[in-house]
């Protein structure tokens, strides 16, 4: 690596920044799979493993041998104290999995810390840009590299709503030096959780840049006959959420309410084309499940799709969605949105009631003419400023400029080792 590098944890917010900075910095990514994916997009990247040495492996092994037994013993000693539910000590439900977690993940976490240290010491790492700083490997790398003076910028993606979070979530603390947030809403969210305001910069969200360039399209773009398109976006909060049974039931309930509401819309307006947009992370069987709910509700989807989001939004007169970033993306793309039982700051995303009749009436009133109205345009502009700051489609450039400015503060001496 003859030029200084910038490490990217690859995600929706960092890929656009990576593309901007690739011309001036060597791109370092964590995994070989990311190298391959970027190569297909014409971006040359180096995996962080290129910086490992045999010494690193040996040091990690020594550290594992020292730390793993100490951690396992500490967990075993404290498990009864820590793992409590409903007034009962429940170490049995937690300790085995915690022990496996520590033993299995410790080597790779140590490796990430060591890589951060080594790359910082080499003087060839100018900066770190992260998509999310909650995963163990990214946190480890940041911890190692920051100790060596390398600045880190975190570019969060998720729209951290107040929907269910009890104010103690893992996203609320900053491990990087600077937080590049989409807009004032996100800045406020982090500030409320104690991130110092001077460490938060409003740049706009790079992964939303493209949404400002979406132009309305006719239903024919989706291969649908004429008639207003209403898209329903399902959600997927994942099996790793707290209270999984409730989360699954809640998603089903909201989706069924939305489908029942849209069935009412279609009963009044048979020309309405319903498009069901599945969450990209939803399991393969989700399409069949949602289709069955639609049949039960009397709704008739004209299309069920997992991708083509930009096309779907461009062609839609209205999006009805569960809590998701798609509500923001929809408005930025110029498509009004109703969020079922969830409020978003601003007036452009309308909070829909959690009952089919009211939701259907609300949706019916927005199917025709609202998307093109001056009032929606006004609300959209204000909403974009709240959620995407400058909202000019240049967030990636702005974050890149921020990274370059911080990179100027990073140590630049050549240490003479690491990958060349």
């Amino acid at each position: 690596m003859s030029v200084r590098g910038v490490f990217f944890s690859c995600g929706a917010t960092t890929i656009p920044v990576l593309r901007v900075l690739a011309a001036r910095f060597a791109v370092v990514v964590p995994f070989e799979s990311s190298v391959d994916a970027l190569a297909r997009q014409g971006v040359r990247a180096v995996p962080w493993t290129a910086f490992e040495t045999p010494d690193d492996h040996e040091q990690v092994a020594v550290a594992v041998a020292r730390i793993a037994p100490a951690w396992s013993a500490a967990l075993a000693h404290r498990a009864e104290r820590l793992c409590v539910w409903a007034g009962r000590r429940r170490a049995d439900a937690f300790l085995p999995a915690l022990d496996v977690l520590v033993r299995e993940r410790l080597p790779e976490h140590l490796r990430a810390v060591a890589l951060g240290r080594r790359m910082a010491a080499s003087g060839r790492l100018a900066a770190i840009v992260t998509h999310e700083d909650v995963t163990g490997l990214v946190r480890g790398f940041i911890a190692g590299a920051r100790a060596g003076g390398v600045p880190a910028v975190h570019v969060p993606h998720g729209v951290y709503s107040e929907e269910a979070v009890a104010g103690a979530d893992v996203h609320g603390a900053l491990r990087a030096d600077v937080l590049a947030v989409g807009g004032p809403v996100q800045r406020h969210w982090f500030a409320r959780r104690g991130v110092a305001p001077e460490r938060i910069v409003v740049t706009g969200n790079p992964c939303w840049d493209a949404w400002h360039r979406v132009r309305p399209a006719a239903p024919g773009a989706l291969g649908l006959p004429p008639g207003p398109v209403v898209a329903l976006a399902t959600s997927w909060w994942g099996g790793e959420s707290a209270h999984g049974a409730f989360v699954a039931a809640d998603q089903e309930r909201r989706t069924r309410i939305a489908l029942a509401a849209l069935a009412r819309v279609q009963a009044r307006r048979p020309d309405v084309r319903l498009v069901v947009k599945l969450h990209p992370s939803a399991p393969p069987a989700e399409g069949e499940r949602v289709a069955a709910w639609a049949r039960a509700a009397g709704a008739a989807p004209a299309l069920v799709t997992r991708d083509r989001l930009a096309e779907v939004l461009a062609a839609s007169a209205l999006l009805v969605t569960l809590p998701s970033t798609i509500a923001v993306e929809s408005v930025l793309a110029g498509t009004p949105a109703i969020a079922v039982g969830c409020r978003y700051a601003g007036e452009a995303v309308v909070e829909g009631p959690l009952e089919a009749e009211g939701l259907g009436t609300l949706a019916l009133g927005m199917v025709e003419g609202w998307k093109e109205s001056a009032e929606f345009a006004r609300r959209r502009r204000a909403f974009a400023a709240l959620w995407d700051g400058p909202a000019d489609g240049r967030a990636a450039t702005r974050v890149a400029t921020l990274v370059e400015a911080l990179a100027g503060t990073a140590r630049t001496e050549e240490a003479g080792h690491g990958a060349g």
């Binding site: 793992c83 520590v102 009890a166 790793e240 209270h243």
Partner: protein
Amino acid sequence: MDGRRWARLAARRENELLRAVLAAPAAVLPAAGPGLGAVASPGVISDPRDLPAGAFAAVVDRTAGDAARLAALVRACRTGGTVAVVARGGESPDATTVTTLLEAAGCDLVRVVPYDLLGASSPWRGRLGPEAAALVAELDAQLASPAVRAAARLLEREVVAALPPAAAARALVVAHRRGTDQAAVREPSPPRGGPAFVRRALALMQDDAVVRFAAFLAAEVQPVLGLAGDFAAWLLDAASADGSGALASGRARAAGRSWYPGLDARRFVEAAAHRMARGVVGTLAAATPGDAALADTFEYPVLQVCNAGLDVCLGGR
């Protein structure tokens, strides 16, 4: 932090309980302090044996004493009047002994109301061990939130009052002096957990700080006192009753959320999982002090394990 916020809360609770039994003329020993309103106090008398016999409609002693002291209280009370004594958990005489002694001295028990669950002399604090200071400091920090103080007051009024007296730091023993034609009737325990309590509790749960306080109670208080009870299950059941979310809906809306049955249980489970994960990561960091940053890298995967473990405990509810 040394538990001062809880102490103030418990003092107010005691005054609330005492005000409910005071009737003029009353004697309060030691002398009535602020918070009891206008009380016809006998002055600086601290020994009930110095009180005139049969002179008071209500006699209150904040320091439960021996049989002789209790008998003197009863003697100072008019027949049919009220004798109320503060018994302290873990100290002699406890509420049961005070009750027995008052009955032996000529009283009929009316009620026993435990309070001050987390106070300085509570069984909870007595069993905490080396983590006591940290937990009491955390309790005090949580009580900085007005919503948490409101939740703690509700807890004292509706939950602690129904616990066995031995679970709390103090209990007010209320009795009537026998001697009138009409015998005193022991009050039935007031109904607990009624619709008003449910509405109020769910409304308070819309505040994140209260959710974290509930997780604190579930993790740090329940097991120490051996109090069984699944708060998440209670939240699910309570929220399913018609009208239970009447207050909660408004509070949730103000916080930018839509309230619906089950949401509070989920928020509580989340807070419990986060608390547990924080404890696990803290344990790892403490085990190898030079690797605290490494322990922090485990926060997210540990949280996932805690979520999965709590799901097992929830049994699919």
